[in-house]
Amino acid sequence: MLTLCQALNSGLRRAMEDDDKVLLMGEDVGRLGGVFRVTDGLQKDFGEARVVDTTLAESGIIGTAIGLALRGYRPVCEIQFDGFVYPAFNQIVSQLAKMRARTGGRTALPVVVRIPVGGGIGAVEHHSESNEAYFAHTAGLRVVYCASPDDAHWMIRQAVAGDDPVIFYEPKRRYWVKGEVTPEDAGPPMPLHRARVVRPGADVTLLTYGGTVATCVAAAEAAAQEGRDIEVIDLRSISPLDVATIEESVRRTGRAVVVHEAPTFAGFGAEVVAQVTSRCFYSLEAPVERVGGFNLPYPPAKVEEEYLPDLDRILDAVDRVLAA
């Protein structure tokens, strides 16, 4: 049993052992091991040339990672908190995401951008943002979200091994939750961009990712007490999106609720609603519901529990789709 944080650490370690072009870089990732200790001990074992404490400049981190990738390295960048990725937005959106297309497919940039994401840890402002919709809308990026230690370990290895830029989200409030990590010899892991049915069910499909996966599972279990059979799908990858898994489920259940922490307006849930509605229109018994953060800047810590989708708000939405 490893925590999600430890599972990432062991995944990164393996990635570095497997390929000596893999570098870790970011603010305080070296001696400190990162503010969440995801890279704990790696500088000690791999040296300062491979685990790099950068200057305090996010655009600089991503911009130099691009240059390192052009030189043949495979940088894994840590952005210290979700709210601090914006200074790097230009380098991510105009350079990292577009380089391959700009060169007609010639130039690969195998850069992973790790972002501790979301709320639920009682943090101050700018430390609890869910900004995946920005990156999901950006062609040329892969955007994935781990939600369990097992996925954290295997998905980070897949992300690092791949040849495209990946925005790799790590839900902060799950860092310290423990789980099994599938051993090396258990066969190939699930593909990086496949959604996972974490709980099968027949009546309603909950579509979610990241920090709210566990909440959805808890909601499904609570609903089961009342005889409702809820399927929970962890999307895992939001770009590309595994529409086949979604479509199969919702055609079967006829009802869906999308759950994420980010504000709903023009959030990633809207894309899921649009996909479900267009692909499953004639199977839908009710409009797809969205449960998300309210359309406010993330609120102060003392009220974040009310802001975040919780079990009750999810079940409330389930009631609505079932009532329709």
Partner: protein, 376 residues
């Protein structure tokens, strides 16, 4: 009710008109040695200097007490987070005391001593760290902007504000605080450049406290940060940031320079972050006890105490008075902290824009109704 309004009575500046401040071997301006001796070249009115020193000391001592109390409150679970300013009191109090009360300040997030000097009270200082708000005070009455947590962003706000001051033909000066780490952000450089090109009336005050979380200044910059400012065309000063009189003198000089329309300045104050980065940090992972001890020996408060003792500027009564004031401030800090209660999330919907558009209204109403359903 309380005596924390530090800026009253206003301090008189014994350094007005002084040029050529003495430098220490390190190259920085220093008026008082670490063991508390006044540099022989400091040739100003001794009475005024004594009064100033006592005022500054009071500000530093009260700030440290508030800082300690807040730290304790965090350890007791009453605050979610606290970022100590311990060790940086001289840099903060020396600089903020040197500017006019209506000179506008854009702090970073650790400027508790400066804020307290400006009259911002404990409740306002703790609010954000208790998780009941995102900012502490109304900037207007204090001419002191809210804290900015996104590093270096405030340097551009300060620069824009200074451009506005310039347009208004006002003689206000704008002071902005930032750290050695924040200096690496592109925004910091853009701000210095824009200020220099426009001869904006402002002071970039860098507290180089040797660390940005676990990253030492040497990994952040090849040259001293004030040299970088000079490269952009700022007037550049380097000061012993643990010497409150030196900080005061240097800051008042560059502020008057900026006020006279002669352009912006950077002041690099070399100081030390005696605590961890924050209450979430574990500094033992990256710095040595020896380093900490060496800087403890340079504690900015101890230096002023030694100076006052040597010069006969303090006595038991004075120290006792401050002690009492500090005790009262600590009590008040605790009391006001515990009284800070969570806001109503429903109110937040009216704070996003100047009105509440339909979708937001629908969302708020649904939230209120939903929440109400649990009360049945």
């Amino acid at each position: 009710m309380t005596t924390v309004d530090l800026a009253d009575p206003p301090v008189t500046n014994p350094f007005t008109g002084t040029t050529d401040l003495p430098r220490a071997a390190e190259g920085w301006t220093q008026l008082v040695t670490p063991d508390g001796r006044l540099h022989p070249d400091v040739d100003v009115d001794r009475d005024a200097l004594g009064r100033l020193t006592r005022d500054l000391y009071r500000g530093m001592r009260l700030a440290r007490r508030l800082d300690d109390e807040a730290f304790a409150l965090q350890r007791q679970g009453e605050l979610g987070l606290w970022l100590q300013c311990r060790g940086q009191e001289a840099a903060q109090v020396g600089s903020v005391a040197a500017v006019r009360a209506d000179d506008y300040v854009f702090p970073s997030y650790r400027e508790h001593a400066a804020a307290l000097w400006r009259g911002i009270g404990p409740a306002d200082l703790l609010r954000q760290w208790r998780g009941v708000a995102h900012s502490g005070w109304d900037p207007e009455p204090y001419s002191f902007h809210i804290y900015t947590l996104v590093l270096a962003a405030q340097l551009l706000h300060a620069t824009g504000y200074a451009l506005g001051v310039q347009r208004d033909g006002s003689d206000t000066v704008v002071v902005t605080y930032f750290g050695d780490g924040a200096a690496s952000e592109g925004d910091a450089s853009e701000a210095m450049n824009i200020a220099a090109v426009n001869a904006a009336p402002m002071v970039f005050f860098c507290q180089n406290n040797q660390w940005a979380i676990s990253t030492p200044t040497a990994s952040q910059t090849r040259t001293p940060i004030h040299r970088r400012g000079a490269g952009f065309g700022l007037r550049s000063e380097w000061v012993d940031g643990n010497d409150v009189l030196a900080v005061y003198a240097v800051t008042s000089a560059v502020t008057e320079h900026a006020r006279a329309g002669a352009g912006p300045a950077i002041v690099e104050a070399t100081t030390y972050r005696m605590g961890g980065h924050s209450t979430s940090d574990d500094p033992t992972r990256y710095r040595t006890d020896d380093e900490l001890e060496a800087w403890r020996a340079r504690d900015p408060l101890a230096r002023v105490e030694a100076l006052m003792r040597a010069e006969g500027w303090s006595d038991e009564t004075f120290l006792g008075q401050i002690q009492a004031e500090a005790d009262e401030l600590a009590d008040r800090t605790r009391r006001e902290c515990l009284a800070l209660t969570a806001p109503d999330l429903a109110d937040a919907f009216a704070t996003v824009l100047s009105d509440v558009p339909q979708l937001l209204r629908e969302e708020r109403d649904a939230f209120v109704a939903y929440r109400g359903s649990f009360l049945d």
